[in-house]
Symmetry: D2
Subunit: 93 residues, 4 copies
């Protein structure tokens, strides 16, 4: 069960944009841009990445957790555990 299969084009588009932003950061370093301006851009890329993360969490809850609960109680709990651990990892970074 891959929750986000149908939206993989969206994830790829977002990730290619993030790849471009990371290359932009390299150019900023090469061009000796003022460190605070680079830092502002680092925060923007982090935000883009967290958008992807929230999308994946959405898919996980809406598809994997949902299917597991509808299907079988025990697996539902495991999927919820995975979701909570993922949220903790996002919060800790």
């Amino acid at each position: 069960m891959r929750g986000y299969t149908m939206k993989s084009a969206d994830y790829l588009r977002r990730l290619r944009r993030i790849e471009g932003q990371v290359r932009g950061l390299q150019r900023m370093i090469e061009e000796d841009v003022y460190c605070i301006d680079v830092l502002t851009q680092v925060a923007a890329v982090t935000k883009s990445l967290q958008g992807v993360g929230m999308g994946l969490l959405d898919e996980h809850l809406r598809h994997c957790v949902r299917a597991a609960i509808a299907d079988d109680g025990v697996e539902g709990d495991e999927k919820i555990d995975e979701a909570l651990k993922a949220v903790e990892r996002l919060l800790r970074t």
Copy 2:
């Protein structure tokens, strides 16, 4: 005054690794990897980016803020303001 000039090779190395990680994320999506595993990798890339952000903040405090304080009181305050706003942006993302 570009605080991090002498370490730009380190930043570039780290950012190229992050670029590779973002391409790795694209492959995970293309290969339909389980969403929680993609999410774990998103958290790892976010952490790498925050490492770059902390490095830039370090340089800003150690070079730009320091030089401005040694030089001229008013500009020191401006540089500290910039640092605090940058920290807030990092915390909010």
Copy 3:
């Protein structure tokens, strides 16, 4: 449906400890403790609060979302929306 009803004693115990930590912060300010030490304690209290937040999210997913999915598809989606918005609020703070 109050998911955490049976564990409310745990939440209260944790929140009373957090209340004590916040009073401890007031004492630190009154006693002019070094600002970095106060800041370390602020981070500790924030962590305790996020523990309570993760507990509430756990309960929400394990009880409210689960019951709504088992019960009725539409309400399940609403509960998942609430969970995602709550995660976003935790991430933004």
Copy 4:
């Protein structure tokens, strides 16, 4: 050197309000308020605490770091180290 001495009344006022918010959370638990509403309030209290944390960081940079740099180069570096470690602790919580 206590950077925030002159503003301790502000910190105390904010911390007393946070103490009240934490007691409000206890009441919400006792009254079995819907878990998502408690979670929203947990996020609000976390934000208030981070406001105090940012205030302390501001004071540290503007007073302790500044005085140490003006005074003596080595201690300036130590104070900046402390500031960076404090930011990391805030980011990790």
